[in-house]
Symmetry: C2
Subunit: 240 residues, 2 copies
């Protein structure tokens, strides 16, 4: 909750290949550094922002892992996404000047706070930043299209396969293994994201293990047969 007044620079951040400054030239990078007002540490289970809070900034994840979720009036919540280092959060707040979901750290994390008025100001001058901001928002729209496809037309196995492949692919882009990963979220959170109950998630994991597709030991997952998972995601009609 306490903003840290540590001045930092994108230009020497090790996430710069994956984060806000993607595709910017060296001089542009220098200007982007002004964007980041402060960094902020968020402990596990703490929220970065909440539904209803005033929107003022976007957040770039430096370290750690987040979930975003919408709370329904009746107390349940739907996880709308999982975010890792280099990804941007807070885009939901722009429309109404209020956040419409919660961002919760699933492990101790640190984010760069980017005041949105500064982003708009700077992207009026730096064309490539402007375009990059548009791309980030468009990417989120396309990602959500994918989730809609998943929720609207896939069966449990297909959903979990798509989820695992997506996670491991994003982790791989960050230098982690292509086949091993540690889940930062509970079965219930996975289920919420995938539109399934936690028991179904658990059973589906067990089924993958039986079939020799993955090894699962609590939150540690090793993918043994990527092709089999990929097959599930593509060949949705196999059930006929």
């Amino acid at each position: 909750m306490t903003p840290h007044a540590i001045k930092v620079a994108c230009s020497n951040c090790n996430m710069r290949e994956l984060c806000m400054p993607v595709g910017l030239s060296e001089p542009e990078l220098q200007r982007i550094d002004d964007l980041i007002g402060t960094r902020r540490k968020v402990k596990r289970n703490e929220t970065l922002f909440r539904n209803g809070e005033k929107f003022s900034s976007l957040y770039a994840i430096r370290t750690g892992f987040f979930k975003t979720c919408m709370a329904t009036e009746d107390g349940r919540d739907q996880v709308t996404g999982f975010q890792m280092a280099g990804e941007i959060m807070g885009l939901d707040g722009i429309v109404n000047d209020f956040h419409s979901c919660d961002a919760v750290a699933l492990e101790d994390a640190e984010v760069c706070v980017m005041p949105f008025d500064k982003i708009e100001e700077l992207s009026r001058e730096v064309t490539s930043l402007q375009h990059h901001v548009h791309k980030i928002m468009s990417r989120e729209i396309v990602r959500e299209h994918g989730v809609m496809l998943l929720l609207g037309s896939m069966r449990a196995e297909e959903r979990l396969a798509a989820f695992l492949l997506n996670l491991v692919q994003r982790l791989h882009a960050r230098g982690f293994s292509q086949s091993e990963l540690i889940l930062r979220m509970t079965r219930e959170e996975i289920g919420s994201y995938l539109g399934l109950k936690l028991e179904t998630v658990s059973r589906t994991f067990s089924k993958f293990v039986e079939e020799g597709t993955v090894e699962v030991k609590q939150r540690h997952v090793r993918i043994l047969d990527t092709a089999a998972l990929q097959q599930l995601v593509n060949n949705q009609q196999a059930c006929h």
Copy 2:
């Protein structure tokens, strides 16, 4: 398919209160007029753009009704949204410079073609346009969060109720009735959007009719008890 070289102006469009120029001042409105290169007519069942096509423009709907859908590799497609007059299409294309979904007219339509490079150029100069573009993209992200919630945690009745209320609310903002609407899409398309099969959509309509909540005659729907539908959307836990 044939672009019409009709020069038109936002400043005297009757959709200007709902479309691109929302919240712009009179002099700003003048400048926005330059945005619209051409208009384009799209006949029923024709596509405005397709998955894989090069992205160059956003489209504002002047008249008519569209669906956007993603085709899966195995031939099925998932409807990701329905769009009506004043709404913007094509945002999915910005990330990769290629469209990632199809836009299909469900009735004869006309759209304003807005070259995206012009939008970026102009929004570097007109601050309020810049902010408006950001809002439009953020609104789409929030809308999709809502769909994810619907697909991930609602039952068939709740989904259809939310769908009808959303449609009628948007139509009402355009001067149509609060209680009557004509569906421009088939049961199958509704089902695809809501993650249900067409038979389930049909049965759910029939159930609403039995309960006296709506009247349905083919594609003509009259909502008799808005509160009952609203109740369904909110009180998801009623099944306990």
